[in-house]
């Protein structure tokens, strides 16, 4: 029997939480112990993700390391986990970013450190659960469960407007996901009608034939939930507040991993479950994505606050990812999945750097900085690499993802690609201008004169991220190859539905005239 990697990955952080319960932190004496214990647990989780990656079969499109146990037989709900090329790297990314987030909060979080660490570990467990679930009920449980620790992280340890940001984040995301809940319930019910068994198993639901009507609403329900998470314009308004007010560790995990859950949801659930609706909605998604790219970039350009600038840059960059997904071809999808990882690392690193700057100066305003290169040259060097990666300079990781996405989008619809390419220029504008204002030029503010350069801990925090941006830029096939079979299968699944629709056009008229009530298959109290 293979080692149950996925359950181990979900349970290990929770074991960490249990171990923390036994460390009594009265009078804040045991802060160092708590931080070290949490860090060790998160590094162990990361190590396990690496071992899992090593044992992953890169040629197979099936769900690997599968685990399935009967959980609630009355509903056809199983505790069902599995990874494929789409989710493997997202889990590794989660394991990678969590220790970095913890390291970044070493000096900046004081007071209730134990609760903070427990929140981060529970969050990590829930996020891995989301990526690993292949039962829709289990997925939804982890999806909603993830909201609670994030809410506390923002609301308790955040900055001035933290309560507003936390509540906005919670309610906005929840509103989207409850509509997804109704869609999930409908899917299980339709599966019951079609096959006689109530089930939430994703693999079974993939095979369900759904009418256009049902697919339309189902896709919409799922897509709204994920669009809020991504965030896709115009559902993005929670993001700047949440990112800015969250503590550094919260921002890193939020930007690095949480946002990817939205795009992951699109490729794992929305597109393959409702392929025809996906093909129909793809242009609209792409349109919103392109608008988001431009809008995010333009708004980022005028931000006086460094953190808010990076937050809006997230909106812009993730627009690229959604564009790649909407293209529904191999390059686009692969580029999108790869860009998810890239964005996670580069934006995560950007937030780490912003956190370091704000820890030193207790301000995030760009105007307060200037000429930092003379004072903290090493921090500036790391900052430069990460900025260039974010822009998409060839040689760094961002380029590979963006290029594949633009290639895929161009093959599908050149206009979208052209507009998106303009976005690349815009992102260079705002990032480089910001970088210049912060780091180059004269030392305009005396308070910046004696900032200390990177400490050993900060080397350990930034170093891995910077190394990864370079590594992923020069050796992308290491990551792209294992993804390929799963991406191909996904594209094939959606395309097949597209062809079926096209070939069935002879019967198109009948489909159009299908009565609205057909989806209610004669039920109600009198049905039996």
């Amino acid at each position: 029997m293979t080692f149950p990697f996925l359950t181990a990955l979900i349970v290990l952080p929770l074991l960490g939480v249990v171990s923390l319960i036994f460390i009594n932190n009265r009078d804040n004496q045991k802060e160092r112990l708590i931080r070290h214990v949490t860090l060790i647990w998160s590094v162990v989780v990361f190590a396990v993700t690496l071992v899992m990656w090593a044992q992953f079969d890169g040629n197979s499109a099936e769900f690997q390391f599968p685990e399935r146990y009967r959980w609630i037989p009355a509903f056809g709900i199983d505790y069902s986990l599995g990874v494929d090329g789409l989710s493997l790297f997202l889990i590794v990314l989660t394991g990678f970013l969590t220790p970095l987030a913890l390291l970044s909060s070493w000096e900046s979080i004081h007071g209730r450190v134990r609760a903070f660490s427990m929140c981060i570990l529970v969050l990590e467990s829930a996020i891995i659960g989301v990526f690993a679930s292949i039962d829709l009920f289990l997925f939804y449980v982890f999806w909603d469960a993830m909201l609670v620790p994030m809410y506390f992280l923002i609301g308790v340890w955040g900055y001035e407007r933290r309560v507003y940001a936390a509540v906005k984040f919670m309610l906005y995301t929840l509103a989207g996901s409850v509509l997804m809940l109704v869609a999930i319930l409908s899917l299980a019910y339709l599966n019951d009608v079609a096959t006689g068994s109530y089930s939430f198993d994703l693999v079974k639901l993939y095979d369900l034939q759904l009418s256009e009507q049902v697919q339309f609403w189902g896709f919409l329900a799922f897509a709204v939930a994920f669009a809020i998470k991504v965030p896709l314009f115009p559902f993005h308004t929670w993001l700047p507040d949440a990112h800015v007010e969250a503590p550094t560790a919260g921002s890193v995990i939020l930007a690095g991993v949480l946002l990817k859950m939205g795009t992951y949801g699109l490729v794992r659930f929305a597109f393959p479950l409702f392929p025809e609706a996906a093909v129909f909605f793809a242009p609209y998604l792409a349109g919103l994505a392109v608008v988001g790219i431009a809008y995010g970039a333009l708004v980022a350009m005028v931000q006086p606050d460094l953190k808010k600038l990076v937050a809006y840059s997230s909106v812009s960059h993730l627009g690229f990812v959604v564009l790649g997904i909407a293209a529904i071809n191999t390059q686009g999808m692969q580029g999108a999945v790869y860009q998810m990882l890239n964005h996670g690392i580069s934006t995560g690193a950007l937030f780490l750097i912003v956190g370091m700057l704000s820890d030193r100066r207790h301000t995030r305003l760009i105007a307060e900085f200037g000429g930092l290169k003379r004072v903290v040259p090493r921090l500036t060097a790391a900052f430069l690499i990460v900025t260039l990666s974010s822009i998409g300079l060839p040689g760094l990781n961002g380029f590979v993802g963006e290029f594949l996405i633009l290639l895929g989008a161009f093959r599908w619809n050149p206009r979208f690609a052209a507009c998106a390419a303009v976005g690349v220029i815009l992102s260079a504008v705002y990032m480089l201008w910001m970088f210049q204002r912060v780091n180059y030029g004269e030392l305009t503010n005396d308070k910046n004169a004696d900032l200390r350069d990177l400490s050993a801990r900060e080397w350990w925090t930034l170093g891995p991220a910077v190394v990864m941006t370079i590594f992923m830029g020069v050796a992308p096939t290491l990551f792209l190859r294992p993804m390929e079979p799963s991406v191909d299968r996904l594209v094939e699944r959606v395309k097949r539905a597209q062809e079926l629709t096209a070939s069935a056009c002879g019967r198109c008229d009948e489909r159009v005239r299908e009565p609205r009530s057909s989806q209610r298959v004669g039920v109600g109290p009198h049905a039996h």
């Binding site: 009355a74 509903f75 449980v141 509540v167 919670m170 929840l174 409850v178 809940l181 109704v182 019910y189």
Partner: protein, 479 residues
């Protein structure tokens, strides 16, 4: 001869306990401490054991009380509610100067009435149970005689309750006129016959009974008494009312409407749909504006009544099972939440305002943590039992084709999360007020009860299979 009494043994145990409590109080010397609370617990446990022993036997007494699994499940829910209430009460009765003997006696009588109402298969016996529980609860609401607010609340509740009982009785009269019997089975037979669908007698009966039930479960627009009654009553009584009355009322509601009047459901389902939707919406939207914890939880109870009514609208087997599961989960969570509020107070200050919670995490972290779990469960967050309960109910709605109602349900859930979060924000994210509430002396029994509630909530949230199967098995015998 005793066989014919078997079905009412659970209610009998509790009533006997009530009489014993009254007697103990009557013969108590002033200043003497008698463990009346312990007496109450014993009678509740006896009742629970009796219910467990009656499981599956489908016993029936005099043809008017049927201890079928459905009724026994609700009995068990009521026993759980009773135990939690007694434990929390024991912590606060002395502090608030409430006479213990009368209090426990009334509580036990109320539970007896509730058990009777849930197991009855005759409309008049349902009415009897309804009146027993109502009168006891009216007095419990006003049991703090030195508080004007309590007295006003009790009076309002009593007046409106008397009115609705009159409607209920009138509905019974029409049902009798229709069938010649008040038993549910003959009613069901008569109603499923030809021409019953357009019979004005049947429609009147249904309408009036609906009004009576809707009042008791605080459905909109018959909900106006709820916030005042819950705010005026002592917190433990409010918790008891919110859970126990609903459990009994929904039990009878399900029996009467799904079994007896089930054949003409096309008549009453649209009305119930509207009531359910209104209840969910009004309960959550108005709840957002509340600043008093008890009123806030009152509106939250109204919203939960709406969700329970969704199960009735769905009317399928899943719906009935969902009703039972939701009742248990809601009962544990609500009684425990009100218990926490009760523990926050002192003799002079009820400390039930939102701003009294400020910074609670720093002062009493255990209490804050427990309340957070209960609020998350009420809001329907995984992995708490509240999530599974909502899932179950919305599954039933979608399965019966009422997707619109499910959508209203989930969206109102999000609205309700807003005001649950407000309490959480106050506890964790706001600084302590300069006039903090006095330190709380830990009551071990109450803490144990709260801890057990939390464990149950997480257990049912992660491994609900057993209870789900039990609930599903219970409904097969409904009638």
């Amino acid at each position: 001869m005793f066989d014919s009494f078997v079905a009412i043994v659970p209610a009998f145990c509790v009533t006997l306990g009530g009489i014993a409590a009254m007697t103990a109080e009557a013969f108590r010397e002033p200043g003497e401490r008698v463990p009346i609370g312990g007496l109450a617990v014993l009678s509740l446990i006896a009742s629970g054991l009796a219910s467990a022993l009656l499981w599956g036997r489908n016993a029936s007494s005099f043809g008017v009380v049927s201890a079928d699994n459905f009724g026994l499940f609700i009995n068990l829910v009521l026993v759980v509610i009773g135990l939690l209430t007694v434990i929390f009460s024991s912590a606060v009765l002395e502090r608030d100067g409430i006479p213990a003997g009368e209090y426990y006696a009334l509580t036990l009588f109320a539970i007896g009435g509730m058990m009777l109402m849930a197991s009855a298969v005759d409309l008049l016996i349902i009415f009897l149970g309804l009146e027993i529980l109502s009168l006891a609860v009216y007095v419990l609401t006003g049991i703090r005689r030195d508080s004007i607010q309590s007295t006003e609340a009790a009076f309002k509740y009593f007046l409106l309750g008397a009115f609705s009982s009159a409607f209920f009785l009138y509905g019974i009269a029409f049902a009798y006129g229709l069938v010649g019997s008040t038993r549910l089975e003959p009613i069901g037979v008569a109603v499923s016959g030809q021409g019953a669908a357009n019979n004005p007698l049947a429609q009147f009966a249904v309408g009036l009974l609906l009004v009576g039930f809707a009042f008791k479960v605080s459905a909109v627009p018959f909900h106006m008494w709820t916030p005042d009654a819950y705010e005026g009553a002592p917190a433990v009584v409010a918790g008891f009312m919110s859970a126990g009355v609903k459990a009994a009322a929904f039990g009878a509601f399900a029996r009467v409407f799904l079994s007896a009047f089930g054949s003409i459901s096309a008549d009453w389902t649209p009305i119930l749909w509207l009531l359910a939707a209104l209840t969910m919406i009004v309960g959550t939207v108005v709840g957002v504006a509340q600043t008093n914890l008890k009123r806030l939880l009152a509106y939250s109870s109204i919203a939960h009544a709406g969700y329970l009514m969704v199960a009735l609208v769905a009317g399928n087997d899943i719906g009935k099972g969902a009703l039972l599961f939701y009742l248990l989960v809601y009962a544990v969570t609500n009684v425990a939440a009100f218990g926490v509020i009760a523990l926050l107070g002192t003799r002079d200050r009820a400390n039930d305002d939102l701003k009294d919670c400020a910074g609670l995490w720093l002062r009493q972290p255990a209490l804050a943590g427990l309340l957070t779990v209960f609020l998350l469960s009420l809001g329907g967050f995984p992995p708490t039992a509240g999530f599974i309960a909502k899932w179950y109910i919305f599954s039933a709605a979608v399965g019966a084709g009422y997707t619109g109602l499910a959508i209203i349900g989930v969206l109102t859930s999000v609205v309700s999360v807003f005001f649950y979060l407000r309490i959480v924000v106050m506890m964790y994210m706001v600084e302590q007020t300069p006039d903090p509430i006095s330190p709380w002396t830990p009551q071990p029994l109450a803490i144990a009860a709260l801890a057990v509630s939390v464990i149950v909530i997480f257990y049912l949230g992660l491994l609900p299979s057993r209870l789900l199967d039990l609930a599903a098995a219970s409904i097969g015998t409904i009638y």
